[in-house]
């Protein structure tokens, strides 16, 4: 056979395998409103950049007549490509082939591309669309999952790991996304749960749909398992591309620097925040008035909205923002918001992304539900994450910073590198009302008009302590600044700390309050 004919044969073979589960199955996939695995990869990666590996892999299962079954690519596509020119490794489970079920060779393909990503030090993107373990392959499927989890863990904090849930992802399968850095979900398509509606009905008698149990909205709004929510697969891919533009290839690099762009002129930074600390505003407007082109890429937008996290650029450099959000639950810290912020802080620290923290919070959320849900343990995550972080840590106290919340929000005491405060900042052990009630309890009780006395004492306390100068006098904040100076000073602080090195005691790892 001539090489030309052999090449033709290759093309024929390729075409056959690339059909995945065949025409019928592809039609079914489309009827569910889903793209095929191959379409997804091609839509996500730069044009003509995808190179596929292991196209001709076949399973070796023998039981239950599996030896008579051909499963193209064993139900998963793996390969390499680029996103905006940045290299990535990728895998996509092919639901048209045996429901994307995970058998031994399927798992081996995934672990192969994961190992590849670790060696090459580039991000790994996993597109999940699978019915779960391939039952016919028995314990080999379980072994496959375990090998994936192990690699997820070793890769954690070394290369960015992105999970995209574009179909069912149930049982043990959900633990791979849970171990990765960012989870993307799409409305009506993504479904994640440990035990499905059937089991729940049998055991507990509770009837619930897959969507209500573990749909995209549930994980973006209730559980906090997902980081990005999209209405369509294409919107989801745009989000992934944008994320890739903000993060470095690996933990030894810095994120790619862009050209600096001034924030939009429409936002007047000095006019966003009401001077009364009891009044709400959207802290995202403050972020937008600081970052390049007013472009803020928010993460976990729909969960624990009382803290805002996300990426923006300052003078071209990627910055991780953590900000209290007075618009939601008065911007308190609670179980969910501590969990959300702490994990993000650790992400930024692992991947050399400087942190800017914007502070305006009344403290922690009171309540039996909070205490019983372990707010002590969860709240401690914030202290741990900030203290542990060695990336440049810059804090701007916008307005109130009371009590334990003040300490937790990257205060000087957790060794922030720069602490700025706006002139309206109130750094105090608690809000004036609460403080006056405690300190002047006796005077208020014994006064002829207790309410009048209380008001007077609150006013006295406010005048004396509700300002930035008490903390400034002790050096707990470095400078009180005009709101309009904020961006300029942040640029200065970030440039100044670009070579920052901070050593930590050598250890295997810490014991954060997980």
């Amino acid at each position: 056979m001539s090489l030309k004919r052999k090449t033709l044969e290759l093309l024929k073979r390729r075409e056959q395998v690339q059909q995945g589960g065949g025409e019928q199955a592809i039609k079914k996939q489309a009827a569910m409103g889903k793209m095929t695995a191959r379409e997804r990869i091609l839509a996500l990666l730069d044009k003509d950049s995808f190179h596929e590996y292991d196209l001709f892999v076949e399973h070796e299962a023998r039981d239950f007549d599996m030896d008579k079954k051909i499963l193209h690519g064993d139900g998963v596509i793996i390969g390499t490509g680029t996103i905006f020119g940045a290299p990535v490794c990728i895998y996509a489970q092919d639901f048209t082939v045996a429901g994307g079920s995970l058998g031994l060779m399927h798992a081996r393909k995934i672990t192969k591309i994961m190992d590849h990503a670790m060696k090459l030090k580039v991000p790994i993107i996993g597109i999940n669309d699978s019915g779960g373990a391939r039952i016919q392959e028995g314990v080999n499927s379980l072994a496959g999952y375990g090998e994936i989890f192990y690699r997820n863990t070793l890769a954690s904090g070394v290369i960015p790991q992105i999970s995209v849930i574009l179909g069912p992802c149930a049982g043990g399968a959900v633990y791979s996304p849970a171990l990765t850095d960012f989870v993307f979900v799409v409305d009506n398509i993504s479904k994640m749960f440990i035990t499905g509606p059937e089991v729940i009905k049998t055991v507990l008698g509770e009837e619930i749909s897959m969507e209500d149990l573990g749909g995209a909205r549930v994980h973006s709004e209730i559980t906090g398992n997902a980081h990005f929510f999209a209405m369509s697969e294409l919107e989801c891919f745009e989000q992934i591309k944008k994320l890739i533009s903000y993060i470095p290839w690996n933990n030894l690099r810095k994120a790619k620097a862009f050209k600096s762009k001034e924030p939009k002129k429409t936002l007047k930074i000095g006019e966003i925040i009401p001077s009364d600390p009891k009044q709400p505003y959207d802290v995202r407007d403050v972020i937008k008035s600081i970052v390049d082109d007013s472009d803020f890429f928010e993460i976990m937008e729909n969960w624990a909205g009382n803290v805002v996290i996300g990426f923006g650029r300052i003078a071209g450099d990627t910055i991780g923002f953590v900000a209290n959000q007075p618009l939601v639950l008065a911007g308190v810290l609670d179980v969910d918001s501590s969990d959300k912020a702490a994990r993000f802080i650790r992400y930024c620290n692992a991947f050399n992304i400087p942190l800017v923290t914007l502070v305006d919070l009344p403290g922690y959320l009171p309540g039996v539900d909070q205490e019983h849900a372990g707010v002590i343990r969860h709240g401690a995550k914030m202290l741990y994450a900030y203290s542990e972080a060695t990336v440049p840590k810059i804090t701007v106290i916008l307005r109130k910073a009371y009590g334990g919340g003040y300490i937790a929000m990257n205060s000087r005491h957790l060794h922030a590198d720069f602490v700025f405060a706006w002139p309206g900042a109130e750094i105090a052990v608690m809000g004036p009302e609460g403080a006056a009630n405690i300190i002047f309890r006796k005077e208020i009780l014994e006064a002829e008009d207790p309410e009048k006395m209380r008001k007077q004492k609150v006013k006295e306390y406010k005048e004396k302590f509700a300002n930035p100068y008490v903390a400034a006098a002790k050096g707990y904040i470095d400078s009180v600044i005009e709101p309009e100076e904020t961006r300029k000073l942040l640029i200065h602080a970030i440039q100044l700390s670009s070579e920052k090195v901070e050593d930590r005691p050598k250890k295997k790892h810490g014991i954060p309050p997980f």
């Binding site: 049998t202 055991v203 507990l204 008698g205 509770e206 709004e221 209730i222 600390p277 009891k278 009044q279 709400p280 505003y281 959207d282 909205g305 009382n306 007075p326 618009l327 939601v328 639950l329 008065a330 911007g331 308190v332 969910d336 009344p362 403290g363 959320l365 009171p366 309540g367 039996v368 539900d369 019983h372 009371y402 009590g403 608690m430 809000g431 004036p432 009302e433 609460g434 009630n437």
Partner: protein
């Protein structure tokens, strides 16, 4: 900002104007556990009743059988006391969290 559905949230004596998310509104409000009240932990059928109103019972004594998902669950007395009221009948199908029996 003006058109939003703001509410007041009290933190350490200060009331803040803010939005209250659904998850917070729907949180489970804590109740003092009351052992005198017996509720169904699962939907099912009352198969047998071993007590009558006014009867004295000992903690751990068999009270009723609640069949759910083909499992016959023996429900035991949570305290030593008297059966104050019985709110179900034999053969009755009940939902989860239904008040079955009150003790005193």
């Amino acid at each position: 900002m003006e058109n939003k559905d703001f509410k007041m949230l009290n933190i350490d004596g200060t009331k803040y104007k803010t939005l209250i998310p659904e998850k917070y509104e729907n949180r489970k409000v804590w109740e003092q556990p009351d052992k005198r009240i017996l509720k169904s932990f699962i939907p099912g059928t009352i198969l047998k009743l071993f007590v009558t109103e006014g009867q004295k019972v000992k903690e751990g004594q068999r009270i009723l059988i609640l069949e759910a998902m083909k499992v016959q669950n023996r429900i035991l007395a949570p305290i030593t006391g008297t059966v104050k009221s019985i709110n179900v009948e034999v053969g009755e199908k009940i939902p989860k969290n239904k008040l079955l029996i009150e003790f005193e």
